[in-house]
Amino acid sequence: MSGFHIVVLVKPVPDPGWYDRVEIDPATGALARQGMPSVLNPSDRHALEEALALQERFGGRVTLVSMTPESSAETLREALAMGGDEAVVLSDRAFGGSDSLATSRVLAAGIAKVAPFDLVLAGNESADGGTVHVPSQVGELLGVAHLVNVIRLEVDADGSVRARTRIENGYVEVEGALPMVLGVRREINTPRYTSLMGVIASQGKPIRVLGAEDLGVDRSGVGMEGSNMRPGKLSRPGYRRKGERVKGDPEETVARIVGILRAEGVLG
């Protein structure tokens, strides 16, 4: 076997530099993203870095898979400039409004199209959704082992895997074998910079676009129709400051201030 076929799930997300300009449509509760530039989801860069490091070590192929409107395909080009051999864009009007499970169905169908694969790497969560649902759901749908919160990964040439995952107050060491789907956290590595040579090379790398028919997905399981999750009420938090003047003799004042800080959870 000469190397692994690694699939990296990537997602263009609104540029965090524009977050202060995000508007919410009061009628639909949806974010108005028009005119906002997209960037590669930050934690996906770590997934890609991990894949590229494995490719450098063992050879093989790296395929990027993304469910995103075709208009965002240029963000995929930027990911290809960092590395990877080709990108597959899963784009169809039918996918619009997908919740995390419906998205996972589309992604699993897309991965099946580029199969066989040895490893699927994804950022733990997206900067705009942040559910941490997708890696596990994709793993279940593909019928392979899956982990999230991965902060260290060791893969041997025979496909045996040792992974460390972050848990509250510590970590867990897991051993297993490929194939796997892993959601990685930022601590796992430092993504490489994109070189000028990478930018040039990216221009010749293929980006395939596949729609619902190409994937053969059941339309009732994707998009709005296939999504059980609905956003609740969205509102903009207020930034007004509330002031309170504490008067009295020093001892009373200090006691009162300490009481307020305790009540607010500032002091233990």
């Binding site: 994109t194 070189s195 000028l196």
Partner: protein, 381 residues
């Protein structure tokens, strides 16, 4: 007339360069200035990313791009660390000297190391007798048993203490009309009789080293002669224009953008009379003037670079871009300092550094007076 529009690849390149600069260069820019230090570690990284050999063809280890991409890199670097941009700009002078005038053997020998940033280069023409007075050079190179023996002193040479591959001009005789003739040589820093001299304590662009190069019986072989005997002056003047002045214009442009972005941020955040400074019309005028200088400098710079890249002479256009972008950088820094009030003179903010860097760009690659002489000369003729 087409609008100034970068290609999708150039936009991607700008984004990639910006990410590197913001993460690896911006955090140390103030320290490099205070310590007057050229960051070799960052230059090595820039080499690996392709900046050092951006316009060098791939067969010599470069990225194979052009002068527009080079200007984008210098603008982005100049935005946060004009001194480091100056070091890269000067490296490109040496690189293009070898690329444009070198023999195939010289290209194969030097370009892979220079394009990858493993070695740094520079161009040494200026002497204590003057920089713009190129014919006033006193350094000599004399034939001696099949070798050349170089004697003389170069000054105000960027990368003087870091460059391992120096392109040096020296007087090698007279032409048919009895005028001094100059030739260029590739001198590696390990050659006996060659050494860096004193380093200058500059006002700005302190992220690059600047100083003397001393040649005292420095002996090099015929294989070091670059571009043929007697062609040193022509070569130097061509490199000043094609690489030096376009580069300085791009760095000036980066400084103007730094002033614009920092000025806007300050004006929006600083509250005076109960509202942000940006609401005051007097401040809006300052912002508008910086923006206008930025837009004009941008158009002049990329137009001049594009003309040169397309094969035109473009000496006047390049001189105009260099003049306007560097003088515009000084104006922009002054206006930003003005709108920041007391904060403008506090070194916790980088605008003072922008001002010193901008002032220093004026004398690099030909002063503003020389640029005006070039523009006037071409216009009157």
């Amino acid at each position: 007339m087409a609008e100034l529009k970068f290609t999708q690849q150039q936009e991607m390149l700008r984004k990639a360069v910006r990410e590197f600069v913001e993460k690896d260069v911006k955090p140390v820019a103030a320290r490099l200035d205070v310590e007057s230090r050229f960051p070799m570690d960052i230059f090595v990284k820039m080499g690996k990313l392709g900046f050092a050999g951006v316009f060098v063809p791939p067969q010599y280890g470069g990225a194979g791009l052009g002068m527009t991409e080079r200007a984008i890199i210098l603008e982005e670097l100049g935005r946060h660390a004009a001194g480091l941009a100056m070091a890269l700009m000067t490296h490109h002078l040496g690189v293009d000297a070898v690329l444009s005038y070198g023999t195939e053997e010289q290209k194969k020998k030097y370009l892979p190391d220079l394009a990858s940033g493993r070695k740094i280069s520079g161009l040494a023409v200026t002497e204590p007798t003057g920089g713009s007075d190129v014919a006033g050079q006193l350094a000599t190179a004399v034939r001696d048993n099949g070798n050349w023996v170089i004697n003389g002193r170069k000054c105000f040479i960027t990368n003087s203490s870091n460059a391992e591959v120096n392109v040096i001009t020296a007087r090698t005789g007279e032409d048919a009309k009895g005028r001094p003739a100059f030739s260029a040589f590739i001198v590696e820093n390990a050659v006996e009789g060659f050494s860096p001299g004193r380093e200058e304590d500059k006002v700005g662009l302190r992220g690059s080293s600047t100083g003397d190069l001393l040649m005292n019986g420095c002996k090099v072989g015929d294989a070091s002669l670059l571009g043929g005997e007697g062609n040193g002056m022509k070569m130097a003047l061509s490199l000043f224009t094609k690489i030096g002045r376009t580069g300085m214009a791009a760095i000036g442009l980066g400084i103007i953008r730094a002033c614009l972005e920092d000025g806007v941020k300050f004006a929006r955040e600083r509250v005076l009379y109960g509202k942000p400074l940006s609401k005051l019309q007097a401040i809006q005028f300052e912002i508008a003037r910086i923006r206008i200088d930025y837009e004009a400098a941008r158009l002049l710079t990329y137009n001049a670079v594009g003309l040169k890249e397309g094969g035109a002479g473009a000496d006047a256009e390049i001189a105009a871009a260099k003049y306007f972008a560097t003088e515009g950088a000084v104006r922009a820094a002054k206006r930003t300092m003005d709108l920041m009030g007391g904060y403008g003179v506090i070194n916790e903010y980088p605008v003072g550094r922008y001002m010193r860097d901008a002032l220093t760009t004026i004398s690099c690659g030909g002063t503003s007076h020389i640029m005006q002489i070039i523009v006037a000369g071409q216009t009157l003729n």
